[in-house]
């Protein structure tokens, strides 16, 4: 797969684009840096994969890609599709539709497209549709708030506090508390009176001087509770709640300046994430790829990534300007699928533009599903890419991904997990090709890397609470472990040659 648009489709899935936007919104400069890493990593991968021709060329590729590589890429593609289908389900739930409808529609559309062998021809139109579907609401948002992206950023970064707007659904009709996302309790830093329009159970940990009490209120419809600074509402609360307009959003940065400056850096964690993204890009974009990348491809991919990054930043800024309540309980991807609230309050364009945005998301998903299948098909050199169009195989992949999507998982974390797994299994052999005498060394290295990755990922899952950097990003250990196996194999081959 050498098509630049295909590479963009593989890398810039809707989960990655919304993930960039959500990270920027959540962490300010921290998220901006992750976005920059998502722009640079594929370019590094394409540059590192540009093998020179002639005497400096790498050993000729075998006719058949090792089964191990095909299986790993198939699983990676499946997990990436899974992350995007989860996002579709979450977005449907956030917009008030049953979650399963978003999941079923997206998975069915992705699978139906596998039946059309000419679908690669619509890859570019699909990506353009996605771009237009995002750009039009952005332009409309800029007109509505009367500020370009720089002006909008300045307004957000100068906000004295992030407060619930009167038009917020959390203020007007209220929302199911479970929609606040995340696992940690929601902490209040000023007095709030919250109302349960339909009644329900509210569990809170209240602080009264030095006394801490766990309280469970069974509220009747319309009943209110006043929470004071330091109180926390547990995520296990089951009810719809309404906040007061003008109150600070719990979980939001203290001020716009605090958001623009970001939190104190945990640079070990960020370095491990960068390593995972870089090695993941090498595995996803270059493993088994045919031929070097041309300058034209690099120009289109780079341009597309920069446009994607700039639009993700603008989306984050206009979203928070229009709906500061996005911060409630931690920013999640699906909240960004809703049009910026205030900018479109009472606008007749709200519904058509929301439909356009959802259409853009679906177009982006379909483009990515085609590109990911083509990417896998590129490994099937003798079969003419048949694997990318196997209806039975893809029915299984989309079916499993859709079923798994019924359980909510963070799509961004799943994307990072997919990149990490692919990195652990495939990236060592992309960077250091195995010796011609023992091509199986690449598979052994991949298996070692994958085993280390799986062991650390399982350990992270078993551990309650946050683990260390290496448990959070196991590829940072797994890739060097695989590379060490290849180094030993190459050294052994060199010694054997010297003896001959």
């Amino acid at each position: 797969m050498t098509s630049a648009v295909g590479l963009l489709g593989v890398w810039l899935t809707p989960a990655v684009w919304f993930g960039m936007s959500a990270l920027i919104l959540d962490g300010g400069p921290d998220g901006l840096w992750v976005g920059l890493a998502l722009v640079c990593a594929p370019l590094v991968a394409l540059g590192m994969g540009s093998r020179p021709a002639g005497p400096l060329a790498e050993p000729a590729r075998p006719d058949r890609e090792p089964l191990f590589n095909v299986v790993i890429l198939l699983v990676t593609v499946g997990v990436l599709l899974w992350a995007n289908i989860i996002l579709a389900g979450d977005a449907a739930a956030w917009l008030g539709a049953p979650r399963w409808q978003g999941i079923a529609l997206t998975a069915a559309a992705g699978w139906l497209l596998t039946a059309w062998r000419g679908c690669r021809r619509i890859l570019t139109p699909l990506l353009l549709l996605a771009l237009i579907g995002v750009s039009v609401p952005l332009v409309q948002a800029a007109r509505a708030v009367g500020a370009g992206p720089l002006g909008a950023w300045e307004r957000v970064a100068s906000a004295p506090a992030f407060r619930f707007p009167a038009a917020s659904r959390w203020v007007t009709a209220g929302r199911d508390f479970r929609m606040a996302g995340g696992r940690a309790p929601i902490a209040f830093d000023e007095e709030h009176r919250i109302t349960a329009p339909s009644g329900g159970t509210l569990r809170a940990r209240t602080v009264d001087g030095n006394r801490i009490a766990d309280i469970e209120w069974n509220l009747t419809p319309g009943q209110s509770v006043t929470l004071r600074p330091g109180d926390q509402v547990e995520r296990t609360s089951v009810l719809r709640i309404r906040f007061e307009a003008g109150k600070r959003v719990p979980g939001a940065p203290q001020t716009g300046i605090a958001w623009a400056e970001g939190r104190a850096g945990d640079w070990a964690r960020r370095a491990a994430l960068l390593f995972t993204i870089l090695a993941g890009a090498l595995a996803l974009l270059r493993s088994g790829a045919a031929g070097p990348t041309s300058r034209g491809v690099a120009a289109v991919v780079g341009g597309g990534l920069v446009v994607g990054f700039l639009s993700a930043q603008a989306w984050a800024v206009y979203s928070v300007l229009g709906a500061p309540d996005l911060f409630l309980g931690g920013v999640t991807l699906e909240r960004l699928v809703e049009l910026p609230g205030l900018a479109f309050a009472g606008s007749p364009w709200r519904r058509p533009l929301q439909a356009a945005l959802l259409g853009a998301g679906l177009a982006g998903f379909l483009a990515s599903s085609v590109a990911l299948r083509e990417r896998l098909g590129a490994l099937d050199r003798t079969g003419g890419g048949e694997i990318g169009y196997d209806l039975g195989l893809w029915a299984g992949v989309f079916g499993v991904a859709a079923t798994a999507s019924l359980w909510p998982v963070d799509p961004w974390r799943l994307t990072v997990l997919a990149l990490g797994g692919a990195a652990a299994a495939l990236s060592p052999a992309v960077l250091w090709s195995p010796p011609n005498e023992s091509p199986a060394a690449a598979t052994v290295a991949g298996l070692v890397g994958l085993a280390v990755f799986a062991a650390l990922a399982v350990a992270a899952g078993l551990r309650a609470g946050p683990g260390g950097v290496l448990l959070a990003y196991p590829a940072a250990v797994a890739v060097p472990a695989g590379a060490a196996v290849l180094w030993v194999a190459r050294r052994g081959a060199r010694r054997a040659k010297a003896v001959e």
Binding site: C40, L43, L56
Partner: protein, 72 residues
């Protein structure tokens, strides 16, 4: 060897662009928070300058389709 060296150089420049972000944010007296045309220096760098520079770097370093090994 020249081809390999230039290829590594390109990757190195891209990684340096990434490393520039934490270095800029670590400058004393919150220099990165200074606003120019409405945007802070850190956001100008991370959100605009560095991604555009990364794009240009990739276009310059990744060879044209007709290039031989000498031009890598």
């Amino acid at each position: 060897m020249r081809a390999v060296t230039n290829r590594t150089k390109g990757a190195l420049v891209l990684l340096l662009l990434l490393a520039g972000f934490p270095l800029l944010s670590a400058l004393p007296n919150q220099l990165a928070a200074v606003r120019v045309a409405g945007l802070s220096l850190l956001w100008w760098y991370g959100g605009v300058a560095a991604p555009v520079a990364a794009w240009l770097t990739a276009v310059i370093w990744i060879p044209g389709s007709g290039a031989g090994p000498g031009r890598q």
